[in-house]
Each structure stands twice: as structure tokens, then as C-alpha cells.
Symmetry: C2
Subunit: 433 residues, 2 copies
């Protein structure tokens, strides 16, 4: 079995007796994403999204395979993410059978809750959070703003560039983001001052949930990396560009990023995405081949994701007028220079230990052209070209009351398409200084 195996759970003819699942944009029976939810008046627990319902796995524990059943008593998915891939696949098959067949329908129905009535939590206790920089067009777009003749640094095509982020400030979709105060120094100012960020931005990323992981000192070979990927989410790496520009030399981003990171709460499992695996785009002629520790034929053949990503903006004015969110960008997740397996294997290549429930961000994913730029810094050319919104408003960076909504759809010929669910948050004003 590989992470790319398609089985009966992906059958496009499959339907669920949960009627709302059939034709559901995000959560048809072929998706079965896992998460942590609290029903009205109840405590957080493990569930699977099916149409507009959530199934409490605790209620059906005795109908699940033993290995998975033993991991579902708590309020995080960490123990489940720690399972070998075979056990995660077995759970998926069992859930698919329970929600399609009539054999245990009465019992399963007892565990269903209306999703709209439930609160969604972070799916795991995140031990460590690492953010990469694998979106090459983003790196090029940003690099061009500062080094027009030499936008990519010499290491980019050799090293999957990454850095550690803050785990404590990661929040599930829906939690508002307080605009950070911080030091910023205008180019024409003599000295910095402390106050609200004036250049608050979003970044469109995929999040990657780490599965079993490795012991300290023991790398993860590239051929085994896929076994250590438990699933995916959307990730908004909120960024205060003015704080970042002033603080980031020589040790990288810090307060410009760590005030909050928003993720979509459902874990779209690696198994659910198997039909949407595509070949990693070939490297441009003249680019170096990955070093052997990052090179694997299977990963190159099936290592990219056929996902369409979209960012929308809903301003306070649009919200009051009852207008729909405005699409800022749309593009493919295949615009990454490194596969997710390469990110995992590189991360552990020095012996650094990854653990179940760790979160990796891919870095901002942008398209080569302006249609799918994954941040306002790119779309507004570092604030030089304001974006015109349909209602007459303009934006260079985010204003208080703005809401950013990330979404993702997986589509492939012969497969039922699935979605990731919402990743959204609204900006609140900075605290008084």
C-alpha cells in the first residue's frame, strides 16, 4: 500500500445514506475528513464530516478497527495521526462502510450532529510548527521586489527553505485576528516606533499534518516520507510586512508572523487525496536535480496535489451591503518547487524529530501570473498598486473588519471532487498602545 492507492472508498458511484453528503461540495462520502468538534453543550471530541453532519466517532467506536478505536477517546487527533498508515486506511474503509451500508445505520445515526450547531476546534495539539517557502512563484515575486536582477537566492533550488513558526498562536477558522502592534520603521523615518501594523497581509498556504514521525537522530528516507503525512489543511500565515521588514535580519521572521496563524479545522487525509495526486511538474531546464536524499521516482510521479486554491476578501462595507466575497486569486497547489514528501524528508535529514500532530506550512503558493498571487504584497506590488474592489473600495493591505477566506477543491477526471471546508478570519483593531 502506498499513500497514492485508490480503493473502493474513492468509487465515484458511492453514495451515503446521509443525504446531504451526496453532491456536497466539500464533504461527500469520498472525503471523510477527521476533526475535533464540540456538539451543543458537549465537550470536544473526534468526528468525521459527512455532508452537513458530523459523526461522533466515540459513539461508533465498537464498530471501528481496534487500532483506530483505541485512539478516539480524547480531544485531539494526535494518537490517531501516530498510527501506521495501514491503520489509518482501515479506519477510512470502516467509516466508508458505516456511512454507505444500512447494517449499522440506527447506531450510527445516534452519533450524528448538525455541523452548523457544532464548534470546530484545532484538530491536534501542535507540538512544533514549521513553515516552508516551497512556492517558487511567491519566492520569485517577492524576490523581484527587492532584487530585480537576482530574485532567487543561490540556495533556493537546492534547499527546501524553511523556518520554525509559533505553535501556540495557531487557531482554527473563525477565530478573529487582532491586528498586531509592533516596531516598524518607515523608509524615510530616522527611528522606529511601536504601534499598529500598517501593512497587514495574508498568505495562502497548505498545511501538512505529520503522522508517525521519527526518533531524534534518525532521518526519514525520502521513499518513506509519504507514510509520515497524515493529512492536509488550509493555512493562512498572517504577516505584518512592516514589522517583518524591520525585524527579520539576520535571523528571520518573528513577531511579524507569530501573532496568529489560521487553519481550516478538518484534516483532509492523505488517503482522501489519493485520486488527486499528479506528477510533480518538471524542473525548468538547467535547474539542478534534487540531491539524492531528496530524490524518489514515486514521489516525482505522484508527489504533487491536483488542488485548486482560492482567496476571497469580504470587507466590512461589503458585509454590511450583503455583498458576496470578492475573489482575489485562484491557482493550483502544484506551483510548488518541492513536494510535501521532500519537505518532510529534508526536515528530518539532520535527525530532527518530527512528531504526530506537528504542522508544516508549504509557504505561500502563487501562480506564475497575477491570477493566483497568494498575498497582498504580491497583488499590490508591495503597496504600490492598490487593488480596486467591485464596490469602489481599494486595498493595498488589510483593514480592520476585513475577512479573508481561503478555500481548496480537489478535482480529477473520474473522481468525485472534494473540498477542505472554510479557512476564514476577520481582522480586529489593534489594542491601544
Amino acid at each position: 500500500m502506498s499513500a497514492f492507492t485508490i480503493d473502493e472508498t474513492h468509487d465515484p458511484a458511492l453514495t451515503s445514506w446521509v443525504e446531504s453528503a451526496n453532491g456536497h461540495a466539500d464533504f461527500p462520502i469520498q472525503n471523510l475528513p477527521l476533526g475535533i468538534f464540540a456538539p451543543p453543550g458537549g465537550s470536544p471530541r473526534i468526528g468525521v464530516a459527512i455532508g452537513d453532519q458530523i459523526l461522533d466517532l466515540g459513539v461508533v467506536a465498537r464498530l471501528l478497527p481496534d487500532a483506530a478505536a483505541r485512539t478516539i477517546g480524547g480531544a485531539t487527533l494526535n494518537p490517531l495521526m501516530a498510527l501506521p498508515q495501514a491503520d489509518r486506511v482501515a479506519l477510512r474503509r470502516a467509516l466508508s462502510r458505516l456511512l454507505t451500508g444500512e447494517a449499522h445505520r440506527r447506531e450510527v445515526e445516534d452519533g450524528l450532529f448538525v455541523a452548523a450547531d457544532c464548534a470546530l476546534h484545532l484538530p491536534a495539539a501542535i507540538g512544533d510548527y514549521t513553515d516552508f517557502y516551497a512556492g517558487i512563484h511567491h519566492a520569485l515575486n517577492i524576490g523581484k521586489q527587492f532584487r530585480p536582477d537576482n530574485p532567487l537566492l543561490p540556495n533556493y533550488k537546492w534547499v527546501p527553505i524553511g523556518y520554525h513558526g509559533r505553535a501556540s498562536s495557531i487557531r482554527a477558522s473563525g477565530m478573529p485576528v487582532v491586528r498586531p502592534n509592533g516596531q516598524r520603521k518607515a523608509p524615510d523615518a530616522d527611528v522606529p516606533s511601536y504601534g499598529p501594523s500598517r501593512r497587514l497581509d495574508y498568505e495562502l498556504e497548505l498545511g501538512v499534518w505529520v503522522g508517525p514521525g521519527n526518533a531524534l537522530g534518525t532521518p526519514i528516507p525520502i521513499a518513506q516520507a509519504a507514510e509520515h503525512i497524515a493529512g492536509f489543511c488550509l493555512l493562512n500565515d498572517w504577516s505584518a510586512r512592516d514589522l517583518q521588514a524591520w525585524e527579520y535580519q539576520p535571523l528571520g521572521p518573528f513577531l511579524a508572523k507569530n501573532f496568529q496563524t489560521t487553519i481550516s479545522p478538518w484534516v483532509i487525509t492523505a488517503e482522501a487525496l489519493a485520486p488527486f495526486r499528479i506528477a510533480q511538474p518538471p524542473r525548468p531546464e538547467g535547474d539542478p536535480a534534487p540531491l539524492p536524499y531528496l530524490l524518489d521516482a514515486a514521489d516525482q510521479a505522484k508527489g504533487a496535489l491536483g488542488l485548486s486554491l482560492e482567496v476571497s476578501l469580504l470587507t466590512a462595507t461589503m458585509r454590511e451591503a450583503g455583498a458576496a466575497p470578492f475573489a482575489l486569486s485562484k491557482g493550483s497547489a502544484a506551483n510548488m518547487y518541492w513536494t510535501v514528501a521532500q519537505l518532510v524528508s529534508h526536515h528530518a535529514s539532520n535527525g530532527c524529530n518530527l512528531a504526530p500532530g506537528d504542522l508544516l506550512g508549504t509557504g505561500t503558493i502563487s501562480t506564475p501570473d497575477a491570477s493566483g498571487m497568494g498575498s497582498l504584497m504580491e497583488l499590490s506590488r508591495n503597496g504600490q498598486q492598490p487593488l480596486a474592489l467591485p464596490n469602489g473600495e481599494t486595498r493595498t493591505f488589510l483593514e480592520d473588519g476585513d475577512e479573508i477566506i481561503l478555500s481548496a477543491r480537489a478535482e480529477a477526471a473520474g473522481a468525485v471532487s472534494i473540498g477542505f471546508g472554510d479557512c476564514r478570519a476577520r481582522i480586529l483593531p489593534a489594542p491601544a498602545v
Copy 2:
């Protein structure tokens, strides 16, 4: 009460009925550091070091103040670190009385174990680890190697520079360090290769344990920062200089640092260090004053630590010959440009939430001259000037079998001096590539 209050627990006339504590270099009755230890055949639990013994706090729980007693059932200090400072002070006073007075001696003796027989663990589950760059002479020494005319970047005297590190790979003293493999590119090489780091280094730092912390979106005012500091340890920020040079642009250190970080396992409480507080050294004339959010008169008056720090090296050859470790450097912890309170307040100044058991590193602490340079990169001038060891060996960077030992002593007139205990680890060969 402030973090700087000296009370009867610091009385230099105080002695313990645990005889080995009286005159003990590290753990006299005036220290009372907390940690997690496992007695022979037993499970990890909370203890306090006293002379060459460790007292199991669980055994004396009923003799301790209620707030503290409620936090000592587990195998981490996180719940204790979360207590308000007043409760931590009350625990210290109770422990001091139990180990000096005869009233409960029989009962307390039942909880004593010989430290040499016990295993020491990490004192807390570390949620997030942040490393700062507050040692200005280190920043100058390193900066001079790359920018002789302009060693400090323009932000250094305004921003307490920091970045996120890896929490999962932090280990207690004694755990060997596996030399990391990684990408390194020699200056005269056309392309990088993957293999063992050839420039493995240590960095001498203090670690700071976060106490209660703050809610997301709510800063910690500088005047309250000291209440959120639970204690201190020694911290060795192992660094692979060749990996670092190749990977760190533009997002900072990653695999060059995250393969392991070694700390001393005893939490030297902020309360124990009260007699050793000294005035923060004045800024050189012409330097800017800290921005108001980082400026506090009490912190400037008592914010620095009167600690003497030392690094020693024991090579395999020295070990086989039965030789003593060789002192590489000795210097004062006051060589920091920012106080620890300033690091805490800056970290939370954008609303980033700090939690009990989070760990901060100060950054490498070096002296202005060569006597107390806190890394081999400084001592060997980036590998250009090999160090001569007394037995005829030389070192530019660390070799397999080398052991680095960090130590710290707090000394002040009229106070019984205390130590931090060992922070040591030996280098093991890299895994075969």
C-alpha cells in the same frame, strides 16, 4: 512583592539538616531548584535538589501550601510554573522550612533520594522554544567576521532580535548529540553536497522558563514581565555552521540548529536568584533608549543577573588520559544588551501568547574580549585560528567524542553562592549517508 525580593530563605546563616547541602557548590539550602527526576526503578516526578540529595515533593505534599501541592502530582513542572509568583514564593518558603527545621524531619527524610542514583528529565513539556540574540558581544564578534566595518545591523539596538527554535529536540544534560548530516557548500565548491557537518559548534546561553504567560492578543507590559519568569537554566544551542551558512537566507537558521538543544535540568527559580540581581549595564553613549514598551526603571535597576558562566571541553583523548576538562571561556551573564524582562515583553508585544513551560534562550553570551567568547566560531575566528589544547590537540570546531560542559555560578556579597548544575553532552558520529 517583586521578583527581586530577598527574604529569610536567602539568609546566609541558614543551614540544612541535609548535611551535604551545607557548603554545596550548586545546591545549598538557599537554592532549592525544582526539577523532574526518576529514582531507581521509579517513574518521573517532581523534586527539589538539596546538596547531593533530591526530595520527592509528592512525599511531602501535605506539608506544602495548597496551591503548590495541587500542581505536583504529574511528571512536569508546567502546572507549577503556571502559578502566580506569590504561590511560587510560598512553596519556596515551605521547602526552606522543611529542610532546615526539625519539625517534620522524619517525614521529609522518607522523600529523600541520592541524586547520583536518579535520572534527571526535562523539567517541563516545552510548548514553544524561542531563541534570542541578546548577547551583544557575540553579535559583534560574528558580525565582524562578515561585515568588518558594520558588524551590527541597524535594528539591533532597537529590536530584541529573536526567532523560533525547535521544541521537540530539546534534551536534558547528559543525552549525547548525534552530529547532523546536512547540505553544506564549501566556498570553492560549485554545488552543495549532503553529509556530516564539518563545522559543529556549541553556543553558551541562558535558558528562561516562562511562568503564567498571557492570552493571545494581550501583551505583557514591561512592568509585569518579571512575574512571568519562572526560572533559569543553562542552554547549549548546538550549531552546524556549514549548514547554517548555506541554508539561512532569507528565513533564518533551521536544520543548522534544530537537531538538538541541551539544557541543564534543574530550574533555578527567579526567587533563588533574587540576591544576585544587579543593575542592567548602562547603554554606551549614543545608543538609543529602549522604546517605551521596553523601558522600566525597576527592570533597568535590577534586571541583569550576577552570574558567572563557564564553558569547558573534554576531548576523547583527554577523557582516556583521565585529564580534567579544559576551560574554553569564562564570563558574566550581564553581557546582554536586553534584560530577560525585555525579551519577555517584546515577545508578547504583538499579542503572541506565551505559556507556562515555554523556553526562551538568551542567545550566545560572550565577553567583549576573548576570555569569554561563547562559541568556537568566535574563539577560532571562524575556523581560521585553531585553539591549542593543553595536551597538544587543537580544535577549530567540535570532533566526535568531544564533550562540552556549561556551568554557571551566582555570586554576590553577603549571599551564599549557588550553581546551576551540569549542562553537558558528548558528540556522537553522524549516521552513515
